[in-house]
Symmetry: C2
Subunit: 249 residues, 2 copies
């Protein structure tokens, strides 16, 4: 069962203001909720249309509801079996950049889909942490959560002003810039074990104030006529280049 | 001015059936419409809220309309100054794979955002053509068109059954498979000048029927815990790896 008030409460969590106040976020669908239930995150409540979940996770606070109510609670175009509310990870300051860390710094990534995809890739490529400027998309936005495909439960994302974060750090700071040196034209030892890669805003790139901290400007060489790659694609190419060596006989 | 019938006609083109019947598609926003008007595509009609477009493209069939009407015609959450209707490229059979061609084969890419992003990357990395299985997303879906950021006007995309297309071809067929050899562990000469890269469906991967045509199964090595990368991100990493050499002293 789900009450009208609970429904209203869930729906309020689709807005950042309410999420930040309640320190809760929404997770939907079997794959995502299963990963949530197996993660260290605290789950406040789960609603599902399927009995089996009560058996699989007997200790979780799961209640059965009907399809119509799940559809009302859901933000997906088609509600998908199960929906959970979980506590956000505590907002902490990021650890200072240290020798041996491999860090992604996001300077104003605004699109939730890009943010989610970047978190998923960071998880794939073993990035130690993501530090996002405060104007970046909220990782607890439901679109971000869903597009991480579970990586949100395994990836450390911090929000901090990048100027202060990048100042006085011992790592090479790679910045993706159209004026950068093409990948492949400067020496790196693949797989790169440490460093900070700065990815700029989707339309404006890396802010002027951040440029002085970039110690190695890089660009993705173009072989065709497209003017740009989107931020998530650029991140994919950069992480692939930094982590996957070319074949050596 | 725009008539009620014209508005209805535009709105009908958001559906594949009408697009295929009329052989027309919709392009929105200043950047995209400018690229369209400078492309070889035949433009049927353009509506804009801004006088300046009539001066910039005096020979184009442009009419002024007010914001309310543009909003009604638009599919964007915020209508963006200009909307055009253009003729689709003629549906032709793809040229047979030939020595020296670098081809992307898409086996059931269904998500319009992935399709658009892949077209944009193909344009960036100088892919000669894309051959998509008939069940792949329609490139004239407005979401695909918009997410190509203009690359749709420069990239050759064909629809064809991949079994027939891949049979008896002289090129190495790389298939992205979880069971493949990790990138970096088999010899390729970067930048790779010819070959076919097969990208599978977002959830099911490459279909069983296509596997016999794959001559080099490849996978993207994982460094973290994510279970998968999405199809567009995998394409980004693969194209980056195939086209961008590591630094050589």
């Amino acid at each position: 069962m789900i009450s009208k008030n609970e429904l209203k409460y869930i729906q309020s969590l689709y807005h950042k203001k309410a999420r930040d106040k309640e320190k809760l976020f929404i997770v939907e669908g079997p794959k995502m909720v299963q990963e949530l239930l197996e993660s260290p995150f605290t789950v406040q409540k789960v609603w599902t249309t399927q009995q089996k979940w009560l058996k699989t996770f007997p200790k979780a606070p799961i209640e059965l509801i009907d399809e119509q109510h799940l559809a009302k609670a859901s933000h997906l175009s088609t509600a998908n079996e199960i929906l959970a509310i979980a506590q956000m990870a505590e907002h902490k300051n990021p650890p200072r950049p240290a020798v041996g860390s491999f860090i992604l710094a996001l300077d104003g990534i605004r699109d939730p889909g890009n943010m989610g995809t970047i978190i998923r890739m960071a998880d794939w490529f073993g990035v130690d942490r993501i530090v996002a400027s405060p104007d970046s998309a909220d990782i607890y936005n439901p679109k971000v959560v869903q597009s991480t495909m579970g990586s949100i439960f395994r990836t450390s994302v911090y929000y901090a002003p990048l100027e202060a974060y990048l100042a006085n750090n011992p790592l090479t700071v790679y910045g993706a810039l159209l004026s950068g040196e093409p990948l492949g034209s400067f020496p790196i030892s693949v797989p790169v074990k440490e460093g900070i890669i700065v990815i700029g805003n989707e339309s404006k790139g890396i802010r002027q104030e951040i440029l002085p901290f970039v110690t190695q400007a890089v660009k993705i060489p173009a072989f065709g006529k497209a003017e740009s790659l989107n931020a998530a694609m650029a991140t994919a190419v950069l992480l692939g280049h930094f982590k996957i060596p070319s074949f050596q006989k």
